[in-house]
Symmetry: C2
């Protein structure tokens, strides 16, 4: 496919690429040939107003037609073939196998929401009339759900497919009946365009109003601001750093009309290693944690960043194993030079904190590669340095040595919000594990037992969210079928004749 470098505005490719920004090859650490047009104010306005126009017909489509549209998007993504994989690998530095897996997940997500639509979008709640009730008759009331309207979505740097152009936010918004105005991530604009081409084909095949999807390219911050503050935009989805997420949140806070902002931000994914588990499996567990940490160079939102371990006879073995495993790791390419640079700065900051020891670093690589690192500290230092709870995006972890179980319980009270936490325990730890589970539940969106946090299952019972800063909206998930609810809202129909009710609510 030819990469136009343009914005897709309601079915039309638009913009001048000449003065635009350049795509970047993460592996080779060089600029690529394609240039991309920063979307103009007018183009963004056109995208949003076209989305609002499309909303009327799209929101009234039968759910099964939306399902067919989602499946067709998935098919068109598969049709892109190796070109998509090669482009995503070049732009992100992620290996082909990972991108292939992510493509499978992306198509799987689209199909998950299609299945949901085919099976009935939601459970109808119907309370029939009771004309004889005293003192007042009970009216017929039926609870349904409506799509919110135009949704702004921001692509993630670390998931160029599954959390980007046709990723979970887009899939769930389209499933809900909402048009999407997608802001591509400037680190993978060509991958975004390929996916947008696939969506455009699906729009033609399914005969959907092309206003239902626009792709906005750009490196200009004003673009994001224009999208999130536009009066016709009724919800925003974002996956990225706490810093950028909170800039968007503050812009949204300036709106006359409050709208939901679904920001999935930072998480250190604490690991709690109980005493008997440590005694039984110190070495195996340390190796498994390092393996989880190294996935995607630690550029996963669920990467295990802080490990709480109760001191004991096997603690040295645990720390030594982790140290040795980290020292063996090869450096790997990071998503962008900016991310590589932030990682280096974070590691340097940690090294400057009194009471934090650098146990080992992985093998060094070239400038834009990630060199893994493992640190250790004690609870007092962890408690005194809030910086140690900031997510380090990359393969760095911190072991926090707790003097005893009470120290571990104390550590939990210090935690900010996280996407996940894992408890590592054996049967004889169960009473303590229960205490950790009860306390930690209020700090996380997903609580895991004897498994690693990396790898998020896409299913009805998943929750990918949690207390701030894991999410800006604790009541929602960005992964799994429940994610559709972010873009729907309740409406009660009272005393409506059957002809005026949505299909799911008819008698």
């Amino acid at each position: 496919m030819t990469i136009t470098g343009k914005n897709l505005i309601a079915g039309q490719w638009s913009g001048e690429t000449e003065n635009g920004f350049t795509a970047f090859n993460a592996v080779e650490n060089t600029a690529m040939k394609d240039k991309f047009a920063d979307a103009s104010e007018q183009e963004i306005e056109n995208a949003i107003t076209a989305a609002q126009r499309a909303f009327t017909s799209y929101s009234q489509l039968p759910a099964t037609k939306r399902a067919t549209f989602l499946r067709t998007i998935g098919e068109q993504i598969v049709q892109l073939g190796d070109e998509l994989v090669e482009m995503a690998c070049a732009e992100t530095g992620l290996p082909a196998m990972r991108i292939q897996g992510e493509r499978g997940r992306t198509v799987g997500q689209l199909n998950l929401f299609a299945d949901l639509l085919d099976s009935g979008e939601y459970q109808a709640v119907i309370d029939l009339a009771d004309t004889k009730r005293a003192p007042l008759p009970k009216p017929d009331t039926r609870l349904g759900y409506l799509p919110l309207g135009v949704v702004g979505v921001f692509a993630a740097s670390n998931f160029p497919l599954a959390f980007s152009t046709a990723g979970g936010d887009t899939a769930s918004a389209l499933a809900a009946g909402c048009p999407v105005v997608m802001k591509a991530h400037a680190a993978h604009p060509a991958t975004a365009e390929l996916i947008a081409q696939a969506i455009l084909k699906a729009i033609a095949i399914a005969e959907i109003d092309p206003g239902v999807f626009s792709l906005i390219q750009g490196k200009n911050y004003a673009i994001s601001s224009q999208i999130v503050t536009h009066p016709l935009v009724k919800a925003v989805g974002f996956t990225g750093s706490e810093r950028v997420g909170m800039i968007l949140q503050q812009q949204i806070n300036q709106r006359a009309e409050p709208i939901p902002f679904y920001g999935e931000l930072g998480s250190v994914n604490p690991q709690f290693i109980l005493a008997n588990k440590l005694a039984a499996d110190a070495s195996e567990l340390a190796s498994a944690l390092v393996a989880s940490l190294m996935m995607g160079q630690g550029q996963f939102c669920t990467s295990p960043g802080v490990w709480f371990v109760i001191d004991g006879a096997e603690y040295p073995l645990f720390a030594e194993t982790a140290t040795a495993e980290i020292a063996k790791t090869s450096a790997g390419v990071m998503l962008t030079p900016g991310i590589a640079n932030s990682y280096k700065q974070a590691i340097a900051q940690w090294q400057d904190i009194a009471g934090v020891d650098l146990l080992a670093q992985g093998q060094a690589g070239v400038e834009h590669f990630c060199q893994a690192a493992i640190f250790s500290t004690d609870l007092a230092t962890f408690s005194a340095n809030p910086l140690l709870q900031e997510e380090v995006f990359g393969s760095s972890a911190l072991i926090v040595k707790c003097a005893d179980f009470n120290d571990m319980l104390q550590a939990i009270t210090l935690l900010k919000g996280n996407l996940t936490a894992s408890i590592h325990a054996i049967d004889s730890d169960l009473a303590n594990a229960k205490q950790v589970a009860l306390a930690t539940a209020h700090k996380v969106g997903r609580l895991i037992y004897n498994q690693m946090p990396t790898g998020v299952e896409v299913c009805a019972s998943m929750n990918h969210g949690g207390p701030f800063p894991a999410s800006t909206n604790i009541r929602t998930t960005s992964v799994g079928s429940e994610a559709i609810k972010r873009f729907q809202r309740p409406i009660c129909y009272q005393n409506m004749p059957n002809e005026l009710l949505p299909e799911l609510l008819k008698s």
Copy 2:
């Protein structure tokens, strides 16, 4: 019961009433004898930290125990007997029958949530493990819900029982497992204290940590700010004016951690009268709308404020009937002198708008009484004056004459968000009614056919909310059993042993 005039801080009555504010008798338009202590900064801090301490035990109570607690609160409210009715009538000017009805609704709401807890708080979603799945095994994942934490609730002026101290927000937060810090409305502090006394008795009977409920009295704006910006407060419920609601929203926007704000603000509850309905029932419909408007002197959030009518042969009969009915109405006492004053100002403002005609006023009353009013205008004037979409709190309505059905469809596009809208139609209007329904659905939280908007059914299929300014959080309802979801959030348990799972999620 003796009214102490003090704040209830986690089981202790606290504060100095001497320099406090005075309760006010709305009927007699005079100060009452009781004085009330403005809560101090320290008292509010104590209430919130005690609530957080109580959260641990209260959130872990079996749901059936929370159900018993809610039922006991209801029983203790009934035990207050006539004293509660008399006090609420004096403080609000509402008649005894209305207060008795509202008491029934308040107890009914508590029991509704108790029933919900007894029947299982939520539907468990369980996806079992599949260890043989390729390429990766599927872990066991189970979706449950946790209470958010301490909830701040603000009482409403117009529902001293059902939307106040033990009203819907308190009942749903306590049902969810959240402690409540309640800010009483300064217009009915003695009623608030009586209800708080009932809750305190229920706390003792059910052996609940008294930190689970505190009552904050005060007329000082700093009190509200301290509650909504406190880091331990995890959600806020509010029912009141758009002006005050948006002040709270802006304070909440300053927080480091975003939290949900459930503000139920203004609504004009548009009425759409279709052509054949007008021809068939002009006079009866006008009378019915005036009757709905006059309920509680129009001091209902669902009061029918704007009536869109298509011009036709029967329009004069419709307008003349409404005019005659309004002219006959007696003036009635309003909730507070401040509300009476705001109402007078709003009516005066409308009279100053060119193109708006005052058709009739009700009989005049004394200074603090509401004199009903009915205005008419055309679509051009309605379109040009956003002020006409501001809620007038009191029994005033505006007839907007539409030249034809297209004018009516045009009017819908102009509307801001509303709690409700009603479509008045007969069978021969059905095709047009369908168009109105489709367009209006996106502007309201409840869409009604041939019934009046006043009267909100408390049931599972109710939605009391809607697009801003009806609600600051379009995805939620403040009435009905779904209201509990405002104070719960999802959590996924992965690979958890049965012993560590909540009851509802165990195998």
